[in-house]
Symmetry: C2
Subunit: 366 residues, 2 copies
């Protein structure tokens, strides 16, 4: 059975995609989703390297405000110069049928605008986290993608990464018994020239940038949504880095089942990203948990027969493996017309909780 | 120069003790402070073993409600049977001049009564933590010891223990730069028959018992007093262990300098006691931090010359070393008429913050 992309989309709308999916997957294995990369910073480089290891995705276009840099990277990844766009003319992506999707890797405050413009150009959108810098923006992004009938995925790498998934599986399988408490942190000592320190670009400080990993982890580890949140913030008033964004945030979350989580984030100290989960039968830790490779899971618990289990599982996969898996997932969702595991609604939830954390700490966010 | 104990006390009151101290220390090195042990549970055993390694302390009496157990332990430690007391006749400690001090190792709710009775019997008091189970009790204990002109020390082992002190010194010496955030936890899976689970004996749950280590650590690590505290609690309603005391508490503290601390405690999971301190120049961790031996300090920071320093310092001292140091300190304070490093006021402060944590979590404590 052979189906054109149009036929596939029509069948999907009729709810038939799921049962046809196996054949389609075989059929579509030749086809690669073409991505336009919007923003050519460090993370875009990881993504472009990662995409090269997929069987279903390729970089076909670049959008950048720096023509020289764009030309250099285009040459590196075999992107024709005709497929280099800038922020003024990027709405013309619409006319380029090589491009199925975009990867939005701009500073946070630009995510909403470029997601919405891409959707209006008829392209699926994979947007970096944080999804945007306000709750209303998150709603607008979701609405724009729905209106344009394109998919929206937020690039939560850890949802697709082996070690984080292994931790979630251990918990769901009951290895730790009833989960009681979670601790997590992620932060770093931010250089003074980073765009991250400018609120108009970043929207907020370490909470939006790296704290979001801990926030999101407490949600996927528990499988629950926060019932209440309490937070403190502090910024050294003598440190010019923190004139517009916060330096530190500490927060605690209570989940409906009673699980509590304590989290920290900072731009003022080196704080290796990790989480530790305590349950009635034992504990597990992933440390580091959020960087691009070198993750390690350790755990101690008693199994159902009372046998003591001790795990130490270093993950030997190398960067850009997280990006490969992420791109592979989104491209599959496009090819098979499925909803991504981390859709816009997932990003919206985090934006809502980020707003709550800020509010509790006395910082106002829209 | 020779001074009687009375002369020493008089000179101390005149502020001369400090300059005479070296001679006095030499002079008093023969004399051992005699302790009556009140309550013969597990921790009393550690203390009695610890005291044997001091040069200035000895066990001379026991107070117990179990005559058989008391007789057995008296034989073990060479305590004459005439020096075995019970809870009814212990006020007669007053008449026994072999006894200088008591060590109160009873369930928490009995600390206040037995401290006050011991003070009234003219004995110095080393009382286990938590100091008591309410703020008014803590005040009454301090007042009773002042009125009786006896010393009161709360048995904060970690104030006298090598690895915790090394961590504090690194921070005070500026190795970590400006401290930003602290994480700490301590908890365990409590057996169903423990007195700790009965509020009339324990006064509260894990916060009073083991959470107090994290609370106290955040104070000695920062050298500051909490400015504000926020907390959540949860107890599994189906677990009969938690009918009267809480199962879990998570709290965050903000200190005046801006440092934030996140802490967890539980009776529902194995939670190794530790703390981790993040500063602008690096971090340190003590893990485990609060058990009787096997402590380990690790740290990474840049020194003033920008050199990267990596520490890994396992503490090879063995239990009951903490108790030896604690008893040694209190006996020195008695011999030299000095105020203990962890006096009743230190215990009172923790009781005040424990009340704040409980209040924030919706639990009422006096």
């Amino acid at each position: 059975m052979h189906l054109s992309r149009r036929e596939f989309t029509r069948l999907s709308a009729l709810g038939l995609a799921a049962q046809l999916a196996p054949q389609l997957r075989a059929q579509s294995s030749d086809r690669k989703i073409g991505y336009a990369i919007i923003g050519l910073g460090r993370i875009a480089d990881h993504f472009m390297r990662g995409i090269q290891d997929t069987s279903n995705s390729k970089v076909v276009a670049l959008v950048s405000g720096h023509p020289d840099k764009a030309a250099r990277i285009a040459a590196q990844y075999g992107v024709p110069t005709s497929n280099i766009y800038n922020y003024e003319n990027m709405d013309r992506l619409r006319d380029n049928h090589e491009i199925d999707a975009v990867y939005v890797a701009l500073p946070n405050s630009m995510h909403a605008e470029y997601t919405i413009r891409s959707a209006k150009a008829g392209k699926h959108v994979l947007c970096e986290k944080p999804m945007c810098v306000s709750v209303p923006e998150a709603h607008a992004m979701i609405d724009a993608c729905k209106a344009a009938n394109v998919k929206l995925m937020i690039a939560y790498r850890c949802h697709y990464e082996t070690t984080n998934l292994a931790a979630v599986k251990l918990i769901r399988d009951g290895a730790l018994g009833q989960v009681q408490q979670i601790q997590s942190a992620f932060g770093f000592d931010c250089g003074p020239k980073e765009w991250r320190l400018q609120k108009p670009l970043a929207g907020g400080g370490p909470l939006m940038d790296v704290g979001i990993y801990s926030l999101n982890a407490t949600r996927y580890l528990t499988g629950e949504e926060p019932a209440s949140i309490s937070a403190y913030t502090y910024s050294n008033p003598k440190d010019p880095r923190f004139a517009t964004v916060e330096e530190n945030i500490a927060w605690i979350t209570k989940f409906p089942s009673g699980i509590t989580a304590s989290c920290n984030t900072t731009y003022g100290a080196q704080m290796e990203g990790y989480f530790r989960v305590y349950g009635s039968k034992g504990w597990l830790e992933v440390n580091p948990a959020f960087v691009y490779d070198g993750l390690r899971l350790t755990a101690e618990y008693r199994d159902d027969n009372g046998k003591f289990i001790k795990l130490d599982q270093p993950n030997l996969e190398k960067d850009p493996i997280h990006f490969t898996k992420e791109a592979d997932h989104f491209s599959k969702c496009i090819l098979e017309n499925k909803t991504p595991q981390s859709p816009g609604e997932e990003g919206l939830r985090d934006m809502t909780y980020i707003r709550e954390i800020y509010k509790s700490a006395g910082i106002i966010m829209a």
